[in-house]
Symmetry: C2
Subunit: 131 residues, 2 copies
DNA sequence: GACAAATGATACTATTATGGTATCATTTAA
DNA sequence: TTAAATGATACCATAATAGTATCATTTGTC
């Protein structure tokens, strides 16, 4: 089991790279060369980050990507949501069946509390803190 | 993303059910009926729990399963390992490529620290605490 | 205006993990 | 001897992850 997927990992590294540059824009090509991620995959990741307003893109010659939000406000939690969908620890699989405990499921409560803890930590990590 | 899979969830519920009984053994059939999990799937789960020395099984007529370890010593973490393999937050995907940070990767450090936290919590939950 | 260099949109494929089924062998109490 | 249980094992289905490919669109530069 992994909490962080490749997608997310690459996205974080791309964001860190962009954040560290002085330049106004970084091209997909540069990121591909510097991070060693396959080109079409890197492009897909950048496009998703743009769609989700984390990056701002400019097309055409000399185009590229830059941060749309200050690095300090790009949280790990948000990036995970983009690439891994809703983050949940356990969706109580028996919900629709005969859950013997119904409302007062101890397991669910415990899980929820771990969940909150993890979320709090993931929300505390941002791109600036990774530089 | 889910931290806990169906496998693990069903296993926990089966273990809780068994732990709550007075009887010396509980059959797969009974668990299937009480928990509403498909029979072959439940059997597979029970077999894995036996193989991993969490349950003790007896074959033959009136056979069944019972705890091999006291409920208070069956930890969530262990059950997750059995059904979800090695639990890791992030396997540093760039390890074999050109990781620009090499040994001093801030991301990895941060992840490791969340990881340890989560593990500590998962190890604190046991079957007894779920009853 | 043509062209090259960039991103946008989209659709497809491959691999792995998860979820689940099926079947035959073995044990054992009655 | 037989029925009721688990053991072993092999297989299939679905979903998530990882990755590829291609054409359309924009835009700076000559």
């Amino acid at each position: 089991m992994k909490l962080i997927t490749r997608n997310t990992d690459y996205a974080l590294r791309a964001l860190c790279y962009i954040a560290k540059q002085d330049k106004s824009k970084v091209s997909a090509e540069e990121l591909v060369n510097k991070l060693g991620v396959p080109q079409p995959f890197m492009r897909k990741i950048l496009q998703l980050l743009s769609k989700n307003k984390v990056l701002e893109s400019s097309k055409g010659q000399n185009g590229g990507f830059k941060l749309r939000i200050p690095a300090g406000k790009i949280y790990l939690f948000k990036i995970m949501r983009i690439f891994q969908g809703e983050v949940v620890l356990n969706a109580c699989f028996l919900k629709k069946n005969i859950c013997p405990n119904k409302g007062k499921c101890v397991l669910r409560d415990k899980i929820k509390s771990i969940e909150n803890d993890v979320f709090r930590q993931l929300k505390a990590i941002n791109i600036a803190s990774l530089l």
